[in-house]
Amino acid sequence: MLKLQKYTSKNTSHRLGIDVLSSVELSEDINQSQREKYFIEDICKRVQKSNTVLYLLKHNHDILGFVALSVSSIGDFPSLQIDYLFVNYKFRGKKLEVLDNLKTSSYLVEFSIEVAHEIQELAGLRYLVLLPDNNKLQQVYKDIGFLNLPKQDWLYIKL
C-alpha cells in the first residue's frame, strides 16, 4: 500500500534521523553519500524543532523517498518551500507504476503542489520554491515544471 507518513514535532522522536537513515540507500559516491547523511540528520532535527514537516513516501515496506516542507517567502511573496527532497538510491530515475508512472521526485513535487494548494485555500500563498543542490538537479526540476529567475539559483512554480 502506498502512503505518505507525516512527521511533525508532535509525533517525532530524536530517533527519526537514525530510523530514516537505517531504512534508505544513499548514493554510491562516498562524498555524496556523506552529504545526504548530513542533510537527513539536519532535516530530522528541523522536524523536531517545528521548522519543517516531513512526508515519508512508503510503498509496503520500502521507503521510496521523502520531502520536507516549510512556509517561506520569496521577496514579499508567501511561498511553500521544499526544504529537502530525497529519493532512495535504488528508486532514483525509475518511473513506478504505483506512482502513476511518475518518478519518485516528480510524485513528491506534485504532492507538494497539493499541500500548497490546501494551504492556499486557508492563507495567502503564491509559489512553491526550492533551491536545487546542483546544476544537474536544476534541469531535473525544470523538466518537472519549475521556472527560474535569471541570476538566481532558486526555482519556483506559480500556484
Binding site: M1, L2, K3, L4, Q5, K6, R35, Y38, F39, E41, D42, I43, R46, Y55, S70, S72, S73, I74, G75, F77, S79, Q81, I82, D83, Y84, L85, D100, V109, E110, F111, I113, E114, H117, R126, Y127, V129, L130, L131, P132, D133, I144, G145, L147, L149, P150, Q152, W154, Y156, I157, K158, L159
Partner: protein, 48 residues
C-alpha cells in the same frame, strides 16, 4: 532544497528577500502550469 554544506556544517538557506523590480515582474507574470497543477491536485494522496 534549502540546505548546503559549508565548513562541514549544514547551513539553511532562505529564498532571496530582496528582488529587483524586474524579478518581481517576472514572478508576477509567470504562467501558471494548469496541466501540472490539475494533475497534482486531482490525485488522492494517502497521508497518515
Amino acid at each position: 532544497m534549502a540546505l548546503v554544506i559549508k565548513d562541514d556544517k549544514v547551513v539553511y538557506i532562505a529564498p532571496p528577500k530582496k528582488l529587483t523590480s524586474k524579478e518581481k515582474k517576472m514572478l508576477e507574470d509567470a504562467p501558471v502550469n494548469h496541466k501540472l497543477i490539475k494533475r497534482a491536485t486531482s490525485r488522492k494522496y494517502n497521508v497518515v
